[in-house]
Symmetry: C2
Subunit: 471 residues, 2 copies
């Protein structure tokens, strides 16, 4: 084995070791967790400081989530000042609140002071008003002002997510002065990719990327290499819209400005990635009929998040049932109708859900707009008719053969074509109308679409059968 | 109005102007589009170069998508060398392929040479093998080698998404030498936030952030400020797993290394943001029963993406129908059963979908693992039983009153409790088992869960009724 190979192997091993808190499936490994649990039980602070305190915030967050309920605050207490509060931004809200409530307020205050402002705001914003005021009052003046400024912006706004630490210099400084300033100032943000250029009242004039400072000679003035600020973001803009700006223009960070064009903070891509995730998560959950539920929620919270949707569904289910009730005599004379009617409804429900899924996503990503709406509606009509005819034939064959009644097959085929077409139209028009009316199509489309396909499915099938067989 | 106010207003107007290609809803504005269409029709190249060629790639992409089918390749031809091919990475695949096929191969080759390697690969990877080889053969040698290296990595791997342009320096250089090198080298990437430190064989030794170079004096050696490379990514790693590393550790960029630890490229957060989006999109579509469908797909493609799922659903619908068929005599004697049975099935289907949505998401984000699976199963059992009992009572009241038959209410209540519990168990156990078996729970859970709730709903309700009323 050559020297080089050995080195490679050694390096590979080292890399392995830095990740051994996880098992192969990406969960915290059982051995690591057992060691931590034991150390907590034995109050072995030295072990915890050695093995846990230096983990990356997200790793620490995973460990906290994997621990049992009582060990979590115990771990935080044992680590004391060594506990990186940032880890709490990586855990479920319920767990975060539990831990914060159990912390002595001095530890919380001193830990908060050490955080970047965006992380501190993230932790503070979930607390009750009184508790938050209490903690803010104990913070040093400048910290307090910074955090209060962020907290004064609306929930889920860019101002809430921004970091208030940034580097800003006047336009008449040279590259050399700027580099020296950065070398000497200790109060810089942890890492940054651009510096901002401001006038004496902090109005934003432009920005300079770090790599262009590095490529420029010392005597050049900042204003000579300054570029227009890419898409400054209004502090009151909703975080979802801010994320769309980041995505559209591939930004790494963006200046956040107040109503007067004054620089108040920086929004960075890592916060935006979290926002993108939250928003996609929200859409998926809303389409599935669950509210703002988290995995750590208990039975009561989970029931609360799902109850409303089930209640609405009960109402619509009885609506469909009453459509069936209209035809009870027909069913009494031909039981096969009762057997086949759920097939028609179910096929419509699924086809409608398909169209709705495509529509809701296209609206969320702004791919669906006035230019293509007409084309997409025509396309969905085509898909609905085509699938309607094909599945009408298939289902007619099976049903006709099953009940030895070709006419029944014809009736189910006619109902299928009607319902599959209705499903396609409901699947696209309902989300479009909800969106136009200002409602979130993800949250409410599902119930309208499946109710439509159930009602039309039952009504067309039972109605056509009643008319055709004259029963 | 003060001088300052005026200036603010003026600046606001300028900002407005840079965005006036969009209307208030975020779609390309009708006026702008009409101007472009007219210029294309009149072959007004000057207008197009002025108004369209300088748009940001994503804005240009939006304009292309908003144009009608024939105008798109015409616009690209008219812009000639002024057309930024990067815009094609921002449009739907179908539109991209149409435009590329219509481009003269010289224009395509020269435009590809101007792109960053990751964008060039993105465009090349969708082409047919022969066409791709053809274009690669016409590229300059170094470009060809670079792109081929990326294209040799598996589809959807980090190697495919990486940029092969990066800055790498030896450890014995000083900060001053490094800054001078960056000032003089013209062949640097467009923008970058870290530089890499490599040995003569390009094995990765470490990295230095640009801001730490800026804060360090010129005579300091790179190896003194070099840090361990954060989570270097194996070029063959799947892009989804690479994105998870970025998210977990809040990375802005990461080194991509081959099997021998040699630096082959850089993966940047903007590519990762796209991956995160694609993956969330994929989950939503799979849960909704649509395949890899795009909004620009025509009827044939859309039918193809949805047909399979509808076919499976037809099979399961007949399965549920045959369960009903078992009880045709009971239904003949008591038509109310046919009216109420869809209510039981529908409530179960919705409750099961809720649990399934939570489970599938938790599996995708790795929040659900061996530590909390047992707890979550217990929680879902609790939610299922609680909601089962509550809705059993509500539905029993309505049904008993409707049919003036309290015993029928009791029967429907019993069936509801059974089915809501079954829904909760199916909703969590089916995705867990599919995940364990290596299948994507998003793609296949839905059909299994709703089939389970339909079959159990019909069977329990009709079965209990048959037994209780002795029919």
């Amino acid at each position: 084995m050559s020297h080089l190979d050995e080195e490679v192997l050694k390096e590979a091993e080292t890399r392995e070791q830095t990740h051994d808190i996880y098992n192969e499936e990406g969960a915290v490994s059982a051995e690591f967790l057992a060691g931590v649990q034991q150390a907590i039980a034995e109050k072995d602070t030295a072990y915890l400081r050695e093995e846990v305190a230096n983990l990356h915030e997200s790793e620490l967050g995973d460990v906290i989530e994997a621990l049992d309920y009582d060990s979590r605050p115990e771990l935080v207490r044992l680590l004391g000042d060594e506990f990186d509060l940032t880890a709490l931004t990586e855990v479920d809200e319920a767990i975060r609140l539990d831990i914060i409530e159990s912390l002595p307020s001095e530890q919380l205050v001193s830990a908060l002071s050490a955080l970047d402002s965006d992380d501190a705001v993230y932790i503070l914003e979930d607390l009750g008003d009184e508790e938050r005021e209490d903690i803010l009052a104990k913070l040093p003046f400048t910290e307090r002002i910074r955090l209060t400024r962020s907290l004064d912006y609306p929930e889920s706004s860019a101002g809430r997510r921004m970091q208030t630490e940034f580097v800003a210099v006047p336009p008449f400084w040279t590259v050399g002065q700027t580099i020296d300033y950065m070398r000497e100032d200790d109060d810089l943000p942890d890492s940054f990719s651009q510096i901002f250029v401001v006038d004496p009242t902090f109005r934003l004039l432009g920005a300079v990327d770090l790599d262009s400072i590095l490529r420029t000679k010392r005597q050049v003035k900042i204003e000579a290499i300054m570029r227009e600020t890419n898409h400054p973001i209004d502090a009151e803009l909703d975080q979802e819209e801010a994320a769309q700006v980041f995505e559209q223009y591939d930004l790494l960070s963006a200046a956040v400005v107040d109503n007067n064009g004054r620089l108040v903070g920086v929004l960075t891509i890592d916060d935006v990635v979290d926002v993108i995730h939250e928003e996609a998560e929200e859409d998926i959950k809303r389409l599935g009929g669950v509210g703002d539920e988290e995995l750590s929620d208990n039975v009561v919270r989970a029931v609360r998040s799902r109850f409303g949707w089930l209640l609405i569904n009960m109402g619509t289910a009885f609506m469909s049932a009453s459509v069936i009730g209209l035809f009870d005599e027909s069913i009494g004379k031909m039981i096969a109708l009762a057997v086949l009617m759920p097939v028609v409804a179910s096929m419509g429900g699924n086809a409608g859900t398909q169209t709705m899924t495509v529509t809701v996503r296209a609206l969320a990503t702004r791919d669906l707009d006035i230019y293509n709406a007409a084309r997409i509606i025509r396309r969905e009509a085509g898909v609905g008719l085509f699938n309607g005819v094909v599945f009408a034939l298939l289902i007619a064959l099976v049903a006709g053969y099953w009940f030895d009644n070709p006419q029944l097959g014809g009736v189910v085929a006619a109902a299928m074509i009607i319902n599959m077409f209705a499903a396609a139209m409901a699947g696209i028009l309902i989300p479009l109308l909800l969106d136009r009316a200002g409602a979130d199509p993800a949250i409410s489309s599902s119930v309208f679409v499946t109710t439509t396909t159930d009602v039309i499915g039952f009504f067309s099938f039972l109605g056509i059968a009643t008319w055709w067989f004259n029963i």
